[in-house]
Amino acid sequence: MEIAVCVTLVPDTASVIGFRDGALDTSRISEVLNPYDEYALEEALLMRERQGDATVRVFSVAPASKKPLLQKALAMGADRLVIVEGPESCDPWQTASILREAFRAVYGEAVPELVLCGRESTDFRSGEVPGMLATLLGVPSLSGVTKLEAAPDGTLRLEREIEGGLERFEARLPILLSAEKGLNTPRKTSMKGVMEARKKPVEVLSARDVPEPRVSLESLRPAERHKECRMAGDVRELVRLLRKGEVL
């Protein structure tokens, strides 16, 4: 069984997102695997453990220089890593198209039985690449999965949260799923895992025939979040302030 996991790198949320001369100051940003992608990878590893005979291949559109960071996926237990170098872009359509081509380069016309992605990347939060990739691959998909159970007959039972409730689905392979927090608890990397990761195969491809972007970044500016906080001395004053502000 072939399992593909698509991952990306995002700024560590602990790092300072600052601006210098009107542009994002990247000097103080350190990158990590997108947290949602760790849920996706963990689910792939669980599936491999259940299946026995499965290969987990991780794909990432990133510069080859990011290999050391992406190797974390191998340290967690993935079998192979494919890095696809492409133009720097924040257009999900371009990213999905590049991934589609990379799948073709690796799998030919066949499509992996299971493709897992994170629900969204925590930097731009578009959450669009998984659904676009599924459509390009011609496989069904479901976004934001919080529970996955594989029945012996191959049926998948899936759950996802919606506004005010949850949905339970039944599906079959092949399928592309995007992972939501709650799906599982990603394993930690061990020293042994890190050592082994260095010996695992890493392929570097370069994206060709990248389509024109359909959405581009027009502006990026710091958000003004600071507010003038009016402090209340006791509950009565709090209520009075809130009434005055027409909040209550």
């Binding site: 939060r125 949850l166 949905e167 689905f169 359909r214 027009e218 958000a223 009016r230 402090m231």
Partner: protein
């Protein structure tokens, strides 16, 4: 033929408020630009008297088989409505459905997908945990907008019901995942949709302590939210988590109790209206993004606050 087409979402026969708000916003925008009337598309049967009042055409596939969400049949329906209407701008209220359906449609329609936009007019979205605001420019003949709801009520406006055009169901070859069961929570509102959210963090001290927050939330007709710490400790379900790896709120009033205000938490409240913070630590970062603050132990402050609100409601 209208330029603007709004997808209306129903669950269990009821149209979602977020969809109706969006319809009003798009109608108002189209009116101002002289581009009305607008059109809408709806999958599945709805209760009597639910159809919105707005000039324009409603493409409706009322077949009961569309009552529950299905990616392929819903996509086929929207494609058909876009084609018949010749629409160039398609709108979804951002949520679980748009997250699943809009990317698929954007590929099929060769459309630019503008996700998580602040309004139907232009696309601004908080990025990098809310530290920055990004503007996006589409470049395609058809544009799909998934619009986040935001603080502030929308006037619905009355008038004639829409002109209904019945559409048949066109089932695709492979329906994909089949929705077997929809389980709606009863009781409190949804944290992402509620007008008032009472959120608790580690400072609440345990699952029991959230009773107070529930009481205040139900008194204000709102929802309970939680920090990741509170969720990871098992005090609240993940569906209530607010923040970068949780939900984004669009409440007019956000009351944070025992929440420190970590950047990842603040990512979820970038679009909230008034923020009130109750915290024992006067230096908690939450106060820097709050409109009103009260340095106090929530276990004594909340009961008194609840009492005061009760008095007001009398």
């Amino acid at each position: 033929m209208g330029r603007h087409l709004v997808f209306l979402e129903q669950r269990e026969g009821r149209l979602k408020d977020a969809s109706l708000d969006l319809l009003s916003r798009v109608r108002e925008m189209a009116g101002l630009r002289g581009e009305g009337p607008i059109a809408a598309v709806l999958a599945g049967p709805v209760d009597e008297g639910m159809l919105p009042a707005a000039a324009g055409t409603l493409y409706h596939a009322a077949d009961p088989s569309l009552g529950l969400y299905g990616r392929e049949p819903y996509a086929a329906l929207v494609e058909e409505a876009v084609r018949r209407e010749g629409a160039a701008e398609v709108y979804f209220a951002e949520g679980a459905l748009s997250a699943d359906l809009a990317p698929l449609l954007s590929v099929r329609l060769r459309a630019a997908l503008l996700g998580g936009c602040g309004g139907p007019d232009g696309c601004l979205r908080p990025v990098y945990s809310g530290a920055a605001l990004a503007g996006f420019r589409p470049d395609a003949e058809i544009r799909i907008h998934s619009v986040a709801s935001s603080a502030g009520r929308q006037e619905r406006g009355g008038g004639e019901p829409m002109r209904v055009v019945e559409l048949p169901v066109s089932a695709g070859a492979d329906p994909g995942p089949v929705l077997r069961e929809l389980v709606m929570r009863v009781g409190l509102a949804d944290v992402g949709e509620a007008r008032v959210v009472v959120a608790g963090g580690r400072g609440v001290g345990g699952a029991e302590g959230f009773r107070l927050l529930e009481e205040l939330a139900s008194l204000l007709g709102g929802a309970v939210g939680a920090s990741r710490a509170a969720v990871d400790l098992g005090w609240r379900p993940h569906a209530e988590q607010v923040g970068q790896t949780g939900r984004s709120v669009s409440a007019d009033l956000y009351i944070a109790c025992g929440v420190s205000g970590a950047v990842q938490h603040l990512a979820g409240i970038a679009r909230a209206g008034t923020v009130v913070a109750i915290n024992t630590d006067p230096h908690a970062p939450i106060f820097a993004v709050a409109d009103y603050g009260f340095v106090a132990d929530l276990h004594t402050a909340l009961p008194a606050f609840i009492e005061a609100v009760r008095e007001l409601r009398k």
